[in-house]
């Protein structure tokens, strides 16, 4: 399951939960892509804190959206994957965009507006 939130400053927050396999990736791909192409997206934050399982389909989904952002030189951050998911990101060369931090800290890194809770 994906919960998509449009934050200010062109940041899209995608919170994933449950199990992200090939079937699930195909279910949510369109929704995620639509969200990115509406508005001026310049960064995507994927929060995997609630995600219980992910295989290489998740890598494909995230890499695909990184490609979507190439024309605008957009940024991607992947937050809080499990140790096994972290290995998958390492294998795929995405280790550099993985962070263990809160969404607020990620927004801060990208240079967005952090609202007081």
């Amino acid at each position: 399951m994906a919960t998509i939130t449009q934050l200010e400053n062109g940041i899209v927050l995608i919170t994933l939960a449950g199990e992200l396999d090939n079937h699930e990736a195909n279910q949510i791909r369109e929704e995620v892509s639509t969200a990115i192409f509406t508005g001026k997206t310049r960064a995507i934050i994927w929060d995997l804190y609630q995600l219980g399982f992910m295989d290489s389909a998740g890598i494909g989904l995230i890499l695909g959206r990184m490609r979507d952002l190439v024309p605008v030189n957009g940024e991607t951050l992947i937050l809080n994957p499990s140790p096994t998911m972290q290995k998958l990101f390492q294998f795929s060369g995405l280790g550099e965009v993985v962070r263990i931090c809160t969404v607020e800290e990620a927004i801060d890194e990208i240079g967005g507006v952090v609202h007081e809770k």
Partner: protein, 148 residues
């Protein structure tokens, strides 16, 4: 302990979760660590997804077969399809190689299966199908982990 199982299911994407769940239950008596369990689940998912979307191209009428055995703390599993087969196994196992980039396949499946298992073997004949065999050894259960 010794145990053995066979599971057959239609080549549809929904069954990726079925295979993961069944195999996870099958190895549960080994009391795997969290990392071992999620790595094993990932291997199952990659192998079964390959059979469904590459072997059979999600035809929804062919059957994928998963056979697994437990021998002490070692699990051996084969995932068999009678689908199209792999043209060049060596190339298919290269990281980032995929025949389906339009489906956003990352080409990492075999790399992941190799990294998370203790041995993988791929037998394939064009037009006849593919058998992926792998083995994973689980760490001995310590007194501390038993007390979890």
């Amino acid at each position: 302990m010794k145990n053995e199982m066979t599971l057959s299911f239609l080549a549809i994407e929904q069954n990726e979760a079925l295979a993961r769940m069944a195999l996870t239950c099958f190895i549960a008596p080994l009391d795997p660590t969290l990392d071992e369990l999620s790595e094993f689940k990932t291997i199952v998912s990659e192998a079964v997804t390959n059979a469904i979307i590459h072997g059979y191209e999600c035809d929804g009428k062919s059957m994928v077969k998963v056979h697994a055995t437990i021998d002490d703390r070692s699990v051996k599993m084969t995932v068999t399809d009678e689908g199209m087969g792999i043209f060049d196994i060596e190339q298919a196992m290269e990281p980032m190689f995929t025949t389906k980039p339009q489906m956003e396949r990352s080409g990492m499946g075999f790399t992941i299966m190799e990294s998370f298992s203790d041995g993988i073997r791929v037998d394939s004949t064009l037009g006849n199908g593919t058998i992926v065999t792998f083995e994973k050894n689980f760490s001995p259960v310590t007194e501390v982990s038993r007390m979890r």
